[in-house]
Point group: C2
Chain length 193, copies 2
DNA sequence: CTATAGTGAGAATGACCATTCTCACTATAG
DNA sequence: CTATAGTGAGAATGGTCATTCTCACTATAG
């Protein structure tokens, strides 16, 4: 109950989430044991279970945090491109392409997690679904801001292209599908003028 | 060495693959034990390991078979629509929509499998990649047969839309993304006339 | 100083699973 | 009939976790 304990909890949580972010994405949820989280974060098992009563809870916290950080990265990359005079809805593909070309790329963490039946429950599925809804909503807002016709539909179409691009890039170990998706997006934007 | 034994092996293999097809897709690879395959197929563990020396081998056989059966289903559905006078590249989305609306839909088996890091090795990844390449090739052939401009690029664009549609439909438990993808495809076809 | 609450290290527990092994049985070759 | 190869049933083995528990230690309240 000392104030020091509270502070420790906060930084221990941060360390655990930092480790979770690294290993859950790289190796999948089933591929990571609580011991791995301990080893990577330096937070003992006892403390770990004090902070997150079960692996499920930790996974939920990771997914929730990932939504925030991924969206921040995505929106940040797009905002930077917009500032450089590029079309935001096309810049989205450039951001994904850069990510997919970086080492360790394994596709969308949310889609991958949803595929792990052993590790994922309804709570997790809800987080995954609202992440995708959040992404689509943001794309719709971009379409709207860009003055396109039927911006909501355009946002959804761009979203499907992005998800397909992320998945195919992972499975084929190539950025080519992202280029194809970008080409398609470009045609769709032209058609929505 | 008796001919009867050979026959048994053939039908035992068939029974095992039939079970594998059902349970691996529904519960994921990690979610299925060899015991589950035995219970579902009626082939004893001993025999099972005689036919497939390891779970990895069985998974590889399942993925290989799945490529064949999935493509046959996909091409069949599209051919039927073509006979009914529909545009094949749009019929693809109708086929996926029907599948996604059926109970037990969980997205693309290949993309899901690739996400299961614990269960998948390089051999499996190659099978997954060539499945996607096969699908894209087929779509390119359809685009070519349809007389569209830049058929290869069009096939890839449609492919990205299909993969995005399959993934989002699974994650959002909705066929709406498939409709959006179909709309997008329709615009792309118009732009490729 | 001394009792106490919290902690790290890591051992113990209980499940689960791939794979192998045992044993009793069957059908067939001879 | 009798030795043999193959089989089913399911137990045994070995490994991997998630989660809990033990024990010794530390710092602090009093």
């Amino acid at each position: 109950m000392s104030p020091a304990a509270t502070f420790d909890d906060v930084s221990a949580r941060a360390a655990v989430l930092r480790s979770a972010a690294a290993v859950f994405y790289a190796r999948g949820i089933a591929g990571v044991g609580m011991v791995d989280i301990r080893d990577d974060s330096g937070v003992s098992l006892r403390r770990l279970y004090g902070l997150y009563p079960s692996k499920r809870d930790l996974v939920a916290a990771w997914l929730t945090a990932r939504h925030t950080t991924w969206m921040a990265w995505f929106e940040g990359a797009i905002e930077r491109s917009r500032a450089a005079g590029e079309e935001p809805l096309l810049a989205a593909f450039d951001a994904i392409a850069e990510w997919a070309a970086s080492p360790g790329y394994r596709g969308c963490a949310f889609v991958n997690s949803a595929a792990e039946t052993t590790e994922i429950d309804e709570t997790h599925r809800r987080i995954v679904a609202s992440h995708k809804e959040g992404m689509l909503e943001y794309l719709g807002a971009l379409a709207s801001a860009g003055g396109y016709a039927r911006p909501d539909r355009l946002g959804r179409m761009i979203g499907v292209l992005l998800d397909g691009a992320m998945a195919e890039a992972a499975v084929l170990s190539s950025v080519e599908p992202i280029a194809a998706a970008r080409d398609a997006a470009s045609l769709l934007l032209a058609a929505s003028r």
